[in-house]
Amino acid sequence: MSRFLAGRFGESALAVLGVVTIVFVVTRLLGDPAILMLPVGATPEQLASFRAELGIDRPLFTQYVDFLWDAARGDFGRSFQHNRAAFEVVLERMPATLQLAGSAIALGLIIGGGAGLIAAMNRGGVIEVFVMLLALLGQATPVFWLGLLLILFFAVDLGWFPTGGGGSFRHLVLPAVTLATFTSASIARLLRSSVIDVLREDYVRTARAKGLMPRTVVVWHIARNALIPVATMVGILAGELLGGSVVTETVFAWPGVGRVIVQAIEVKDFPVVQAGIMLIAITFVSINFVVDLLYGVLDPRIRLR
């Protein structure tokens, strides 16, 4: 177990390094950092002095090491829009993003898991066709479009929920449902095929041969095994969720990191963009680390190797 842990930790650390490197490559090589980092309308003198400060003329490797060092300290430059450290700006929005993504994944697991299980247990029936059709639709619906439709119906027409903003549970409902749709659909499809695979396993027949109650068989022998591939997928879905939250937060004016990033892109406040994206990417790596641990808990064959 400790070797497994150490290995996964090493991989995660490497992934974080990779994320920082990608951001470095994108900002330094694809664009002119001075133009990216300074507000629109900066004078040529300001640009020149910023370039000198960054040390653009120095060897790339030296710049890279500096960049790593700054990133390690959480220094991504100052936001001219907010006039303080960019990292502070995004960090204080993080709880809202985590709340939204967490609610969405919980909803996705409950709705998608339930639907997938029901579909698999009713193989060949009308229910299965219906659930799978819904799941296909869920995967094909653009997040922001769904968000707009939900706002139109439930906020504008019915007035049940606010059209946007944050701060209360009622604010959370529509964005969480929007974001959870794709997740639910993906989980439902995966769990269905995974349950169908498990149903063919000999140990399910063994469980039936023991005369166990159907509930015991479904929970402990079928679902318990069918969830293993789902656990891996939750890691991938977390990426979709965190990425999707950028769009969802924009649609619902949810005060999270994603919205701050998009607002920053609009006014070209690049330090905030950089800090926000880095923060979310590192969160994603950490989530995957936790998911790997969860995987070990679910599957003793991995834990006790």
């Binding site: 396993e201 063994t206 469980a207 023991k210 005369g211 166990l212 095994n225 003793p300 064959r301």
Partner: protein, 336 residues
């Protein structure tokens, strides 16, 4: 000895896209209290399917039981509700499956898997069930049961896993133990150990056993009676000595010839039965073995032989054949 199990006219079908598979055709037999019955046949002979069907363990659909009665300890299993049948399975009837590598749940501890039927059928508390599970592990010959209970199946060897399966099957003192090819997936030496273990357990606990196998040799070592199945039918049945010394069905005879040490000269070359197993999607017509049978008569191809007492044979020796195998064998011997 009174009958513990009485199977009458059991008929099982599978509806597949390729047609209806006639998997089990009018199988009837009785199993006495304390008797060990060896059921022999190749895959597709219906030997496993018919026991799975009577316990409600075949998937329905595509499977369906078309006709029959299975009287077990005074009740017809086929007429029981699913809930009543659940009480029988794992309680009064224990089952061991073929492949111990896949028959155990990989994510639950061995202890939990043994304790489950005890908690379900005996209403034991978790702690009591685990204590009993430890005794059972010891009973099936696994050392250090306390530690082993907390382990997972992948930490056990194949033979050890099959012992665990046996512990699960006998956990609730079943009246009947069904062993569905329990040694097929194991090494020869391990096979012998498992065989001995079941024989000892049977002697100790006094249960009846149905041992399903494709290997006549295994049957010789454990069974009181042998029942040979082919194409979903019983083609011969009788006391183990009678079947081995005086086979009356050509298929049984073929199986015995395929055994390594059978016959006077032990270095005689092994005989294989030529031909393909029957296509069970066709409606049964004639003796299903006829196309592969060197002794087949014209009648074998048109009319299905009934299972009747064999002429001049041991009591309880039944055969389904239109031909007189001892006479044909004697003629063949004489012609040499």
């Amino acid at each position: 000895m009174s009958a513990l199990l009485d199977v009458r006219g059991l008929r099982v079908r599978f509806d597949t896209p390729g047609g209806t598979v006639h998997a089990v055709n009018d199988v009837s037999y009785t199993l006495a209290d304390g008797e060990t019955l060896g059921v022999v046949g190749e895959s597709g002979s219906g030997k496993s399917v018919h026991v799975l069907a009577m316990l409600g363990l075949i998937p329905r659909p595509p499977g369906r039981i078309e006709a029959g009665e299975v009287i077990f300890a005074g009740r017809d299993l086929l007429r029981l509700s699913e809930a009543e049948l659940r009480d029988v399975r794992g309680g009064e009837i224990g089952i061991i499956f073929q492949d111990p590598m896949t028959a155990l749940n990989p994510v639950l501890t061995v202890g939990r898997q043994i304790a489950e039927p005890l908690m379900r059928h005996r209403g034991l508390s978790r702690a009591r069930a685990w204590a009993r599970a430890a005794e059972l592990l010891e009973l099936v010959g696994i050392a250090d049961p306390g530690r082993r209970l907390a382990q997972y199946p992948h930490q056990f060897s194949g033979g050890m896993r099959q012992r665990v399966m046996i512990a699960i099957a006998i956990a609730c003192d079943p009246k009947l133990l069904i062993a569905d090819e329990p040694t097929t997936a194991l090494d020869v030496t391990v096979q012998a150990q498992i065989l001995r273990l079941v024989r000892d357990l049977k002697a100790r606990m006094g249960m009846s056993v149905i041992w399903i196998t494709h290997d006549m040799g295994v049957v010789a070592g454990i069974a009181d009676a042998v029942q040979v199945m082919y194409g979903g039918r019983i083609v011969e049945r009788g006391p183990v000595r009678a079947i081995f010394k005086d086979p009356r069905n050509a298929y049984t005879w073929g199986l015995l010839r395929a055994l390594p040490d059978h016959g006077r000269r032990s270095h005689r070359r092994l005989h294989q039965i030529e031909g393909q197993p029957p296509d069970l999607t066709l409606p049964p017509e004639g003796d299903p073995f006829a196309p592969r049978n060197p002794f087949a008569t014209p009648r074998c191809f048109t009319e299905t032989p009934p299972l009747v007492p064999a002429a001049d044979a041991a009591p309880g020796h039944l055969v389904a054949a239109w031909y007189d195998l001892p006479r044909l064998l004697a003629e063949r011997e004489g012609a040499r």
